[in-house]
Amino acid sequence: MEIHLYLSIFPEALIASMLPPEEFGRYFAVGNKKRTRGQAIFFKVNRNFESDYLKVQNIDELCVPNSDGSPKRSKYIAIYRVLEHIPMEALENLYLVTDDGRVLELEKGDYSEENNDELHLYQQLGPVRPLVASSLDPIAFCKYLTNTEHPVSVPKIMFVELILNGLSNDPQKASTENIPYRNIDHMRDCLVDLKKPGSKPNKTVVRNTRDDLLYRTTKNGFFIGDQIELFYYPFPSQEQLEGEYYSWWKSALTQGFGY
């Protein structure tokens, strides 16, 4: 049985599994029986990389079929500082899993830089999870946060840009309709501050987001990068979501119903 390697973003972990991505995603979200549920976001990782930190050499010995011959569903290889130790070139497709185990596969795409002065809202997904308002575009944001010369930086970062609708241009007056974030007034204050001359480029809206990511708030796609590279995983268009990926999208829209 083929062994796959997955990088889970939250909880941050490197997991070996004999399940292919779709089945792994379903298992990861809802378990073997329907006793739990939970959103999951993970990358498929190419096994052919070397790391002094991660013990990837003996995966074949660790991840063996169960005693009844069934495939091993998950074998945790590492759970600490995993993201920074996976080389960028080892990252393959990204998988977004809904609460009830529907899996959407995203491939890498080209990100075309937007040259405008719009404001942005970034949900950092790993290694830390603040919600940040920013005047930087995704490429600049990634470079800024992975720049070790800055007092606050990380070696590698994964984030998603969220919709701001009219607030991206007019944070003072634009409507917040269809924007489901908490602390919306504080967010507006942060965005207004960013517009002021001489302001810092980033403002923390929420220090640590504990809620699941509402997939419907994705503006353009998911980003992972360091100082050198930035990979972009574009989110499907509304038309594709309502047609090609309907069952996933419908499930994604049900998020937030739980108390």
Partner: protein
């Protein structure tokens, strides 16, 4: 007998023939692929299993009640010997209408989905005409039953003989078949209401909230039960409710006509058959209206609503014209006044419908305000929903009040002393409101068909375009359902008022039957019972507000509305709890449900809802029947009249409040889901979901069931009038 009467049975046959035609046309269309057929088959089986179980319980009840009526009629001589049979046929025809309606609806949903693959108009046509089967079967069977009994009783009590008293006997005997229909309706409405909400709330609580599964997802074991519930509650329940109102309004008006024109045999007969003829004309005009319902491809929501409104509006305008023609052809006295009452009834219905729309549609401020209150959490959502629901009672109450006054004044020639004629006007206003029931019920029954069609499209994994079409039809169904509920409660109020007046006629018959030919007043005044007027009876029984018996009755009547609501609400809670346990159990016990590798046990959830609904409806239903009998036996006629008044005024207001609160909470949630106030997944959304869950039994169980409670308590009082006058303790 007047030759024009034969128009009534003929149109009832025409209605049934058109229903058969629409049914056959629908059955000729394809049900789609294997998956669509399998889903529809699950729903159909579940619906039929529910009906079978319900008819079993109702059958036992009917056997017991028929035995009681037989004893009253043949042993105690307290009732007309025809009553047991009239009671049975009323229940049978009502049950038959529910059966045909459900059968058609469950055959139509997959066909609507399949038609939506190629066109919106095709899907609308199948869904609406299948809904029309229910509408036409209800009015067809209702008028057929009325016609058969009128002809049969006329044979035994010829209208030409008896100085008009035979017509009084005929019409009051026919009224008792209304109790059969009422009893059947109560079981259908209460049972259906509990079923649908147990499945809906129970399924949602585990499916959406706990498991994060979207609605209509085949992995949810309660999905099929939820779809069955739409049919059970909104097709069979609503159909039986309006069947009862339809027949009740015609029969009560005929009885009031027989009383109002006693002594003028020719005019009396005309007054008796006038409501039947107007209803018969309404059937023809409904059929014409049904053919006007069509739309173009790519129609907007507004276009779709316009298509349905066009059919209803054409029927309504034509009935205004033709009802005058009928009254003129009949050469009834004061035709323009009576016609005025009919128009008043129609306008009252429209005003209540529009008020319902205003208070429950997200297009208007009240629902938007409830949505805005989500910003401060679920508690304020509940508070503002309750507040809006209470405020929403004002317009319908004022509409009914103005309607009553105008209908009374028009028919009585603006003379308040002409009580009999005025009450006849109120009765015929209810007939006017329900005359186009053939098409208005079609728009109600269409809703669950479209809803199920959407569910089928989801579960079958059909394409975006199909889902968009079925969603458009479903959304339209939600709008028409809210208006339909307003119409149902408005007609129930007027019908109950007519029944209240008819009760006096039953008292008269009851007294004559036990040999009390003369009413002897405390003052020594004596009046022949047969010729005593309504006011005489009020004075004889001291029906005034200073009589504690009247007040006792009013208190009990008001209390009954709340007690009944509370019982049905708790019933939903308990039945939904059982459903939650079962869905959780299946997720635990059946491996592979979430992966879609194994199919849930849908039948078990259907069974739980069915059994739960049947068990839970027994206590509220029994109370509705036993309390009027007990009050009559203990406190006598004044208390029974107080009971009817108390139940009517409290029940009407409570029903409007509950239906509108529930509808407004539902649409406030939808308003947020459309992208307002944070949209899906926001805190506002979560608060709105709580409001919607609370509102579910409000709008779909307790609120609609009150319509029947009001009418059934009146009907039981009427049928038991003989028992009350003979055996009351006080």
């Amino acid at each position: 007998m007047n030759d024009i009467f034969w128009f009534v049975p003929i149109t009832s046959i025409i209605a049934l023939m058109f229903a058969l035609y629409f049914f056959k046309q629908m059955m000729k269309t394809s049900e789609g692929n294997d998956r669509m057929i399998a889903i529809a088959s699950h729903v159909r089986k579940g619906a039929m299993a529910y009906l079978k179980q319900q008819y079993k319980v109702v059958g036992i009840f009917f056997v017991i009640m028929t035995a009681v009526f037989s004893v009253m009629a043949y042993v105690l001589n307290l009732q007309n010997p025809w009553v047991p049979f009239a009671f049975l046929t009323g229940g049978f025809f009502s049950g038959l209408a529910g059966f045909f309606g459900m059968k058609t609806a469950t055959y139509a949903s997959a066909r609507t989905t399949n038609a939506a693959i190629s066109s919106l108009n095709g899907a609308l046509r199948i869904a609406f005409r299948s809904g029309a089967v229910m509408g036409l079967v209800v009015v067809g069977l209702g008028l057929l039953d009325i016609s058969i009994w009128f002809v049969a009783l006329n044979y035994f009590y010829p209208v030409e003989l008896g100085d008009g008293h035979n017509l009084v006997i005929i019409t009051t005997t026919m009224l008792t078949f209304g109790m059969g229909a009422s009893a059947q309706a109560l079981f259908a409405r209460v049972g259906g209401g509990i079923y649908t909400k147990a499945a809906d709330v129970g399924g949602d609580l585990v499916g959406k909230v706990e498991a994060g599964i979207p609605e209509d997802d085949p992995r949810n074991p309660a999905t099929i039960a939820d779809n069955v519930g739409d049919n059970v509650g909104d097709v069979a329940g609503m159909g039986a409710d309006l069947y009862e109102s339809y027949c009740g309004s015609i029969l009560a008006t005929s009885a009031l006509g027989a009383a109002a024109f006693l002594g003028e045999t020719d005019m009396q007969l005309k007054a008796v058959i006038a409501p039947m003829l107007i209803a018969a004309m309404g059937i023809i005009l409904s059929i014409i209206g049904i053919f006007f319902v069509k739309t173009k491809e790519g129609a907007t929501q507004k276009d779709l609503l316009h298509s349905l409104s066009r059919g209803i509006n054409i029927s309504s305008i034509l009935i205004i014209i033709f009802s005058l023609a009928i009254l003129l052809v009949l050469d009834i006295s004061n035709p323009y006044g009576i016609w005025g009452s009919i128009v008043v009834g129609l306008v009252t219905g429209i005003i209540i419908g529009k008020a319902t729309e205003y208070y429950t549609s997200a297009t208007y401020k009240p629902t938007q305000i409830i949505a805005e209150s989500t910003g401060t959490g679920p508690a304020t959502v509940i508070i503002s929903g309750l507040g809006t629901g209470m405020i929403s009672t004002a317009i319908p109450v004022i509409a009914v009040v103005v309607g009553i006054v105008l209908a009374f004044l028009f028919a009585s020639g603006f003379d308040f002393t002409q009580m009999g004629l005025g009450l006849y006007g109120i009765g015929i206003a209810a007939v006017g409101m329900l005359s186009t029931l053939g098409i208005t019920l079609a728009t109600d029954a269409y809703g669950p068909i479209a809803d199920n069609a959407g569910g089928n499209a989801e579960m079958s994994g059909l394409g975006t375009e199909v889902r968009k079409r079925t969603d458009a039809l479903d959304s339209l169904g939600n709008t028409t359902a809210a208006t339909g509920k307003g119409f149902a409660i408005g007609s129930a109020a007027l019908t109950a008022l007519a029944l209240l007046a008819s009760y006096i006629e039953e008292l008269k018959i009851g007294l004559l039957r036990i040999g009390e030919d003369v009413l002897v007043f405390a003052s020594g005044l004596k009046i022949d019972t047969a010729s005593a007027t309504l006011v005489d009876f009020m004075n004889y029984y001291e029906v005034n507000l200073m009589n504690p018996k009247v007040l006792i009755g009013m208190f009990i009547g008001s209390m009954m509305s709340f007690l009944f609501c509370g019982l049905t609400m708790n019933a939903v809670g308990r039945a939904a709890g059982k459903m939650v346990d079962e869905v959780r159990r299946q997720f635990r016990a059946i491996p592979g449900i979430m992966e879609g590798k194994s199919e849930p046990d849908y039948a078990r959830c259907v069974e739980i809802s069915t059994i739960g609904a049947q068990r839970e409806m027994l206590i509220p239903a029994s109370l509705a029947i036993l309390v009027p009998i007990a009050v009559g036996l203990l406190f006598g006629v004044p208390a029974v009249i107080g009971l009817m008044v108390g139940a009517l005024v409290a029940g009407f207001v409570l029903a409007v409040f509950m239906a509108n609160s529930g509808g407004a909470w539902d649409n406030a949630k939808k308003y947020i889901e459309e992208g307002h106030l944070g949209g899906k997944g926001s805190r506002a959304h979560k608060a709105a979901i709580i409001g919607d869950t609370v509102g579910d039994p409000f709008k779909d169980t307790s609120g609609p069931s009150l319509n029947i409670l009001i009418k059934l308590m009146s009907m039981v009082s009427i049928v038991m009038a003989g028992l009350t006058v003979a055996f009351s303790v006080l």
